[in-house]
C-alpha cells in the first residue's frame, strides 16, 4: 500500500516487508571499524568522511513499526493458496484380499488388501510374452565367435595360378570354400539385448503376479522365511523336503519358488541341489538355493520368467511390496500403491483381529 511504503527506507522496497523485521548487516565503506548492527547508510557515510562538525543525516531511517501479520491483513495482500485438488475415487479399482502366512507352519495369520490394478489384472499373454522375450534377450551371453577368412592363421599367398590348372580359381587357403578355412559370415560376439518400454514391462510384472494370485499360486509370508534354530544343520535339507512334501509344494506338485527381500543363508543352504555341468564327462556341481523341490531367489534376482516358471510362488511380504512398488510406472500417481492406500484412509490395511 502506498501509505505503508512511505515510511519504509529505500532499500526495504526491494526486499519487501519480509525483510523489515530482520536485522540488516550493512557493509562498512572505507573505515575498518565494524559497523554496528543498526547502523544506517547515512550514518556510515557521516562517520566515514566527516571529522568536523556533524551534519544532519541525509536520510532519516525511522522505521515505522511493521503491522503484525494477521490473517485478515494477509488476506488483503495475497489470496490464500488453493486447496490441493483430490480427484474422485476411481470406482473401477476395487480392493482384493490377500492372506498372510507364518513360516514354517504356513498358518494363515492375517489378511491384507491390494488394489485390482496390482493383483487383479486380466491375463495378457502377449504382454507376458514380450516381457519374457525381452528378459531372455538381455540374458544372452552373445559370446559365440568364429574366425572369418581374415582371422584364420595363414598367409595370403595365392595357392595356385589363376589360369591353366584346369581347376577352379583360388586365392589364399583361408577361403571358406576350403577345409581349414574361415567361416563364411559366422557368428561374432554381439549384444542381443532388446528394449521394451518400462510401462509395458511393469505391466507384465504385475500381470504375472495377478495370474498367480488368481490361481491361488501366490502364497505370501508375513516375515522372512528362515529355518528355526532348533533344526540341526545336518537335518535342514531333509526337513525342508518334508515341509514341501507336507504342503504339496515339492517336485511332485510342480516345485516352488521362494522370493525373499534379502538372502537367507539357512533357506538357501536347505535348498542345496546338485547341478550337472560339463559336456562329455558328467560332473556334478553343488548349488545352493536351487534343489529338486524348490528354488530361492531374492527380489533383485527374480524376473517375470521366474514368477511364471514353477508351480507356485511363496513370497515374503516385504519382497512383494518392493516388487509392486518398483513396477508401477504405467499407473497414474493416484493409482500407485502408496497413493491408493492413503486414499483408502488406512482402511486398506485392515487386518483380522
Amino acid at each position: 500500500m502506498a501509505s505503508q511504503r512511505v515510511s519504509t527506507p529505500a532499500k526495504h522496497l526491494l526486499g519487501g516487508f519480509r525483510h523489515a523485521s530482520r536485522h540488516q548487516q550493512c557493509r562498512a565503506l572505507t573505515t575498518d571499524s565494524t559497523p554496528s548492527p543498526n547502523a544506517t547508510l547515512a550514518q556510515t557515510y557521516h562517520d566515514a568522511h566527516l571529522t568536523s562538525t556533524p551534519t544532519e543525516p541525509i536520510l532519516i531511517d525511522d522505521i515505522s513499526p511493521i503491522p503484525p501479520r494477521t490473517p485478515s491483513s494477509r488476506s488483503t495482500i495475497r489470496p490464500p493458496p488453493p486447496q490441493r485438488y483430490t480427484p474422485p475415487r476411481n470406482p473401477f479399482i476395487k480392493p482384493t484380499h490377500l492372506t498372510l502366512h507364518a513360516f514354517p507352519t504356513l498358518e494363515p495369520t492375517t489378511y491384507t488388501t491390494y488394489p485390482s490394478t496390482h493383483l487383479l489384472l486380466p491375463l495378457r499373454k502377449d504382454i507376458l510374452h514380450r516381457a519374457i522375450i525381452y528378459e531372455a534377450d538381455s540374458t544372452r551371453q552373445g559370446s559365440a565367435n568364429t574366425r572369418w577368412r581374415d582371422e584364420v592363421h595363414g598367409s595370403g599367398r595365392k595357392i595356385r595360378p589363376q589360369k591353366g590348372t584346369g581347376s577352379a580359381r583360388l586365392g589364399d587357403k583361408k577361403s571358406p570354400m576350403l577345409k581349414g578355412g574361415g567361416v563364411a559370415f559366422g557368428p561374432k560376439p554381439r549384444d542381443f539385448s532388446t528394449r521394451l518400454q518400462r510401462a509395458v514391462y511393469d505391466l507384465a510384472w504385475r500381470t504375472a503376479l495377478s495370474y498367480r494370485y488368481a490361481r491361488g499360486e501366490l502364497i505370501v509370508l508375513e516375515g522372512q522365511p528362515s529355518i528355526p534354530e532348533e533344526i540341526h544343520q545336518d537335518s535342514r535339507e531333509r526337513w525342508m523336503r518334508d515341509l514341501l512334501r507336507h504342503h504339496r509344494m515339492g517336485h511332485a506338485d510342480g516345485r516352488t519358488l521362494f522370493v525373499t527381500r534379502y538372502r537367507s543363508d539357512s533357506l538357501w543352504e536347505s535348498l542345496r541341489g546338485q547341478k550337472v555341468y560339463g559336456v562329455g564327462q558328467r560332473k556334478v556341481k553343488d548349488t545352493v538355493g536351487d534343489s529338486r523341490d524348490a528354488r530361492a531367489l531374492t527380489v533383485e534376482e527374480v524376473d517375470v520368467k521366474d514368477l511364471l516358471e514353477l508351480g507356485r510362488v511363496v513370497v515374503e511380504r516385504g519382497a512383494l511390496e518392493r516388487m509392486l512398488r518398483g513396477h508401477e510406472s504405467d499407473l497414474t500417481p493416484t493409482q500407485k500403491l502408496g497413493a491408493w492406500r492413503r486414499m483408502m484412509g488406512g482402511g486398506a490395511l485392515a487386518e483380522a483381529t
Partner: protein
C-alpha cells in the same frame, strides 16, 4: 564191550534227550532274544542305533543268500552319510498330514459347524482367532452346533439355538488362549464326528444364502476349515465370496467331466458361437457321409459286393504304387 564201543540204547536215548533239550533251549533263547529286540547302543554323536544281528548261514535254516542288491542297505554313499548325520527332527505344519476327502454333503455339515462356532464368537465379541485354538478336554461342540440356525439380521449373519445353554457351552469349550499345541488327532476326531452327525443338509437351504460381508468372518471360517481338512482355497475366492454358498462351492469336490465336450466352456460354445460344432467323438469320414445321407447307399453297395464296410487293413483297401 559192545556197549563201551558202540554205546547202549539207554545212552543213545539219553544223548537224544540231551540234544532235544539243547535244541529247545536254543529255540527258547532265540525266542527270548526276539522278544527283547535288537541291542541298542549310542553313537558318539548321541544317536541311538540298533546293532545288526550276525546271522550264520549254517545255523539259520531259512537264510537265503541274495544274488542281487535289491532291498539291501547301501552303505557308504553320500546319501547314506547324510541320512546318518540327520537328527530326525519332525516337521509339524498347520494343516493335517492327510488331506480329508469329503463328499459334498459332508462339506456342508462341516461348513455349518464351523460357521456356527465363528458366528457365536463374533456375536459375543470375542476374538475370531480363538476358533482355531485347542478345545477344552472332552468338549464336543458339534453336539451343540448341530441345533443352531444361521439367519441374517439387518444384513449381518446371526445364529440362534432352541437350547439356551448351547451358546455358553460352545463359548466355554473354546479356549481364550492357545495354551498347548494343537493336537492333530483331536482335529481328525472332530472332523470324523461332525461328518458322521445325523443332520439334514440341503444345498438349497436358506442358511447357505447368509451373506458374509465381514472379511474377518470369512477369513476365520476359511482358516478353521483349512486347519481341519488341509484343503486350501485361492485368496481371490475368499475375497469375492459373499455368502456361505460361495465358500461351500470353493471347498466342495468339483465333479470332473469325463469328456472335453462335457466341460462348461464347450457346452456353451454352441450357443455363443453358432458356426462351431462340438461333438463328443472324432468326426470320421463315415460321419460326414451320414450327415449328407450317402452312407446307407455306400454300406448297401459294399455289402452287396462282399467287401468290408469299415476298416482299412485289407491289402486292397489302400491305393499303392508298385515299383
Amino acid at each position: 564191550m559192545r556197549e563201551t564201543l558202540f554205546g547202549s540204547k539207554k545212552s543213545g536215548e539219553v544223548e537224544k534227550q540231551e540234544e532235544r533239550s539243547q535244541q529247545k533251549s536254543g529255540v527258547l533263547a532265540k525266542q527270548a532274544e526276539q522278544r527283547k529286540g535288537p541291542e541298542k547302543r549310542q553313537s558318539r554323536s548321541g544317536r541311538t542305533y540298533e546293532v545288526a544281528k550276525i546271522v550264520h548261514p549254517t545255523e539259520t535254516k531259512d537264510y537265503v543268500r541274495s544274488n542281487t542288491w535289491a532291498g539291501l542297505e547301501t552303505v557308504g554313499t553320500e546319501e547314506w552319510v547324510r541320512a546318518k548325520l540327520d537328527r530326525g527332527e519332525k516337521y509339524n505344519g498347520f494343516t493335517p498330514t492327510k488331506r480329508a476327502t469329503l463328499t459334498n454333503a459332508e462339506w456342508m455339515k462341516l461348513l455349518h459347524h464351523v460357521a456356527v462356532e465363528v458366528l457365536i464368537l463374533h456375536q459375543v465379541g470375542r476374538d475370531l482367532k480363538q476358533v482355531c485354538y485347542p478345545r477344552v478336554d472332552g468338549a464336543k461342540t458339534w453336539r451343540q452346533t448341530k441345533a443352531f440356525d444361521i439367519t441374517s439380521e439387518n444384513g449381518a449373519p446371526h445364529v440362534t439355538s432352541s437350547a439356551p445353554q448351547a451358546p455358553s457351552m460352545i463359548l466355554q469349550a473354546v479356549l481364550e488362549k492357545p495354551g498347548s499345541e494343537q493336537d492333530q488327532s483331536s482335529l481328525a476326531r472332530e472332523v470324523k464326528e461332525v461328518i458322521a452327525m445325523n443332520m439334514v443338509v440341503n444345498s438349497e437351504a436358506s442358511w447357505m444364502r447368509t451373506t458374509l460381508r465381514d472379511a474377518n468372518i470369512r477369513f476365520a471360517i476359511t482358516k478353521r476349515l483349512v486347519q481341519l481338512t488341509g484343503k486350501r482355497i485361492p485368496d481371490v475366492t475368499i475375497s469375492n465370496a459373499t455368502t456361505l454358498e460361495d465358500l461351500f462351492n470353493a471347498f466342495k469336490t468339483k465333479e470332473q467331466p469325463k469328456k472335453l465336450s462335457q466341460t462348461e466352456q464347450l457346452r456353451g460354445l454352441a450357443a455363443r458361437v453358432p458356426n462351431v460344432k462340438v461333438s463328443s467323438k472324432r468326426h470320421t469320414p463315415i460321419d460326414k457321409e451320414k450327415q449328407v445321407g450317402r452312407w446307407k447307399l455306400i454300406e448297401q453297395e459294399l455289402m452287396a459286393r462282399n467287401l468290408p464296410v469299415t476298416g482299412s487293413r485289407l491289402p486292397q483297401a489302400k491305393a499303392r504304387i508298385d515299383n
